[in-house]
Symmetry: C2
Subunit: 365 residues, 2 copies
C-alpha cells in the first residue's frame, strides 16, 4: 500500500474515527485504526464495543492495500506533523512508513484480516435532518440516561419517529428528559434505543451546518455525516412507556427566568452538597420561589421572582437534577408545573412542546 | 463584625488568598480564610505549610471584628454571586451571614484566636523589580526543581542577588536551569531557596504590568504585589555550588531554530515514550541534527537544520528534559554546546546570558 495526501486531511480523518477507538481492549486490534487504500481514496475505520466510525479522504493511491496501525500513536504523530504533503507506505510485513518533510516514522502494524466489522448497510427507511437539530436533541436528553447498568435499556436514549414527530427520550427512574421536533409526516417510523456513549460521540461530530442521514437496521442505527458514517449498536429490551408517566394536569404553575433560577439553585446547592443528599427545598407562592438548603456548616436562602398560578406548594429536590435541566435550556424562561409535594415537577417551554422534563421530588418530613 | 463591599472586590481578594489555603490539613482551621475588618478596610489571609497570602480591600466597616470562615465554600459562593453591593455580618457565635440582592447565606465560622501566623515583617533589605521579570524567572527555572524529597533543598529554586545580577537556579541532579537578570548594582545581597510550590503560586499572581517588592528575613521571603503580600518559608540547607558544574568550554556547537527542534523531538518522543526510558539520540554534524528513537512499535527519524561548528558528535537524552527546556524558551533560536557524548549539553541564547540550561546525557552502548 502506498499513497500521498496532505497532513490536515489525514489528521482530521484519523481524529474523527479515533472517537470510536477502543481503549485497553481485550482485543488489542481494536486499539488500532483500519486503513484501506482503494481507487483514489483512503478509508479509515475504528470500532469499539458500542460503535464504529468510518470516513474517507481523497488521496493519490499508488498501490492499493489495507493495514491496521497503532491508533493512539498514529493519531498523536499526525497531529504533530506540519501541514504539508505526506506519504504513507506499508511493506509486506505491515510496517508503515510515514514521511512528511524531514520527518520519517515507521510504525509496526497488523494485518487487517481479523479486524472485526459491524454491519454497515444503509437501512431502507432513511431520513434526513439538520445536524444541529440532532445535536440539540442529544444534548438536551442524554444527561438523563441511567449510569448504572441494572436496567441496561435505560443507559441509552429512545429515538422515535412517528406521526410527523421525532422524539428523543431518556430516563433513569428519578427524572425524564424529552426533546421533540416536527418532521416530515411521510418520514418512516423508527424506534431505536441508542447507547448514551454512542450519542455523546455522535454529538461531537455534528456541526452547526449541514445534514445527517439516519436509518436503522436490525440491532443497529446508522448516521451519515458528510464523508463519515457512524454505526452504533442498539440496546435491546422494551423502553418504558414514558407517555403515561408525564402528568397532564397541574395545580401550581411558576413561570421563571432560567438564569435567575440557575444561579440561585447553584448557590443553594453549595450548602446542600455538604449535607447528605444535595437537597434544596422550594416554596412556590405569589411571592416567588423561595429556595432553601441547610447543612452542618450553614444554610442558604434565595428568592427568585416568578409568574405564579394556582395553589402554594412546598417541595424538595436533589439540586443536581434541577441544575442538569437548567444548564441545557437556552430559552430565557421556563414553566414549572407541580401537583403536590410528592408528585413530579414538569418543566417545559412557555410556548410549544420542544422539550419536557420531569423530576421526581424528594420526600421531606 | 459587619461590613459592606462590592462582589467583584471581595471575590477577587478571596480567590487571591485561597491560593495558599490548605487542603485536607491536619489543622482544619487552615482550610479557612482569616477575615479581619478594621478601619475602612477588610483584610483576608490564608496559609498552608509553605506559604501565607494576605490582601486587603476597601469596605464600609460598621463594626470591626475578626473571624475564620470555611474557605472553599466561601470562595465558591462569592464567585457565584451577582456583581452587586453586598453585606457580610458575623454574630457573636462566629456565624457569618452574606447577603447580596435576594441571596442570603449563613456560614458557621470559627474564632480567629488560634489561626497560626507567619512572621510578616518587611525585611530591611528590600528590592523592587518588574512583576513580569520575576514571573519569567520562575517560569524558566521552576520545572527543573527536584520532585522527590531526598534532598529537600533541591525541591526549591535558589534566588540570589549579587554584584548587580539577580539569578534564579533550579537543579535536580539530571538538569539545571538558570535565569539571570541585570539589576541595580546597589541592590542588597540576597540568597534564598524558595519552595517550588510557593514559586508556582507566586507566578500565578504576577501580572504583565507593575512592580513587586522582594525582601528576606530569617527563614522567610516576602513578596509584595499591589495590596497583596506573599510570605513563603525558605528551604534550609546548602544549595549546590552550581557555578562549578556548568562547563565553560565546548567542542561542538549547534545553533538551531527552537520551533523546528521542538516539533521534531516531540514526534520522536512519541516512540521513545513507548520504550523504557524516553530516549532520543542526537547526531550533530554539518548536515544538521539527526534525531532518532526506537521502541518495539517502530522507530522515528527526524532531521533539523542547524549552524554547526566543531566536531561531530552522537549523544542521547531523556526527551522530556529537552522538551521541558524548549517549551519555556520564547526566543526564535537557541545555541546547544556539547563536549562529548558523556558530558552535559549546555543550552543558551545566541546573545546574552539571560538563561543557561544544562542537561545530562544518557549513556548509550
Amino acid at each position: 500500500m502506498r499513497f500521498t495526501c496532505t497532513q490536515p486531511h489525514i489528521a482530521l480523518a484519523v481524529s474523527m474515527v479515533s472517537r470510536a477507538m477502543a481503549v485497553r481492549s481485550t482485543l488489542p486490534m481494536l486499539e488500532g485504526i483500519h486503513i484501506r487504500a482503494e481507487g483514489q481514496e483512503v478509508y479509515f475505520k475504528c470500532m469499539n464495543m458500542s460503535m464504529q466510525i468510518e470516513t474517507r479522504i481523497d488521496a493519490s493511491v499508488f498501490e492499493e492495500g489495507v493495514v491496521v496501525l497503532p491508533g493512539r500513536l498514529l493519531s498523536e504523530l499526525l497531529r504533530r506533523l506540519p501541514p504539508e504533503e505526506m506519504e504513507v507506505s506499508v511493506d509486506e510485513g505491515n510496517a508503515a512508513t510515514i514521511c512528511c518533510k524531514s520527518s520519517r516514522t515507521t510504525l509496526q502494524g497488523l494485518g487487517a484480516d481479523e479486524f472485526p466489522q459491524m454491519p454497515s448497510e444503509q437501512g431502507e427507511d432513511s431520513m434526513v435532518l439538520a445536524q444541529k437539530t440532532l445535536r440539540d436533541m442529544i444534548k438536551k436528553t442524554v444527561f438523563a440516561t441511567a449510569s448504572d447498568e441494572t436496567k441496561p435499556v435505560l443507559t441509552g436514549a429512545l429515538l422515535e419517529v412517528e406521526d410527523g414527530a421525532m422524539t428523543m427520550v431518556a430516563l433513569d427512574g428519578y427524572r425524564l428528559a424529552l426533546r421533540m421536533e416536527q418532521t416530515d409526516p411521510a418520514s418512516p417510523e423508527q424506534k431505536a434505543v441508542i447507547p448514551a456513549k454512542s450519542l455523546n460521540e455522535i454529538a461531537k461530530i455534528l456541526q452547526d451546518e449541514g445534514k445527517v442521514r439516519f436509518s436503522t437496521f436490525p440491532g443497529h442505527a446508522r448516521f451519515e455525516v458528510g464523508d463519515s458514517c457512524v454505526v452504533t449498536r442498539l440496546l435491546e429490551g422494551e423502553f418504558i412507556k414514558y407517555g403515561q408517566i408525564i402528568p397532564k394536569e397541574h395545580a401550581t404553575r411558576a413561570h421563571v427566568k432560567c438564569a435567575d433560577l440557575t444561579s440561585s439553585i447553584e448557590r443553594a446547592s453549595l450548602l446542600a452538597r455538604e449535607g447528605q443528599n444535595n437537597l434544596v427545598k422550594l416554596s412556590v407562592s405569589e411571592e416567588g420561589i423561595a429556595i432553601t438548603s441547610r447543612s452542618e456548616v450553614g444554610n442558604a436562602f434565595e428568592r427568585v421572582d416568578c409568574d405564579f398560578e394556582g395553589k402554594e406548594l412546598e417541595i424538595a429536590f436533589n439540586a443536581a437534577y434541577l441544575l442538569d435541566v437548567l444548564r441545557v435550556i437556552e430559552d430565557e424562561s421556563i414553566v414549572l408545573d407541580f401537583n403536590s409535594s410528592v408528585s413530579p415537577c414538569v418543566a417545559h417551554p412557555p410556548e410549544g412542546e420542544a422539550y419536557t422534563y420531569l423530576i421526581l421530588p424528594v420526600r421531606i418530613y
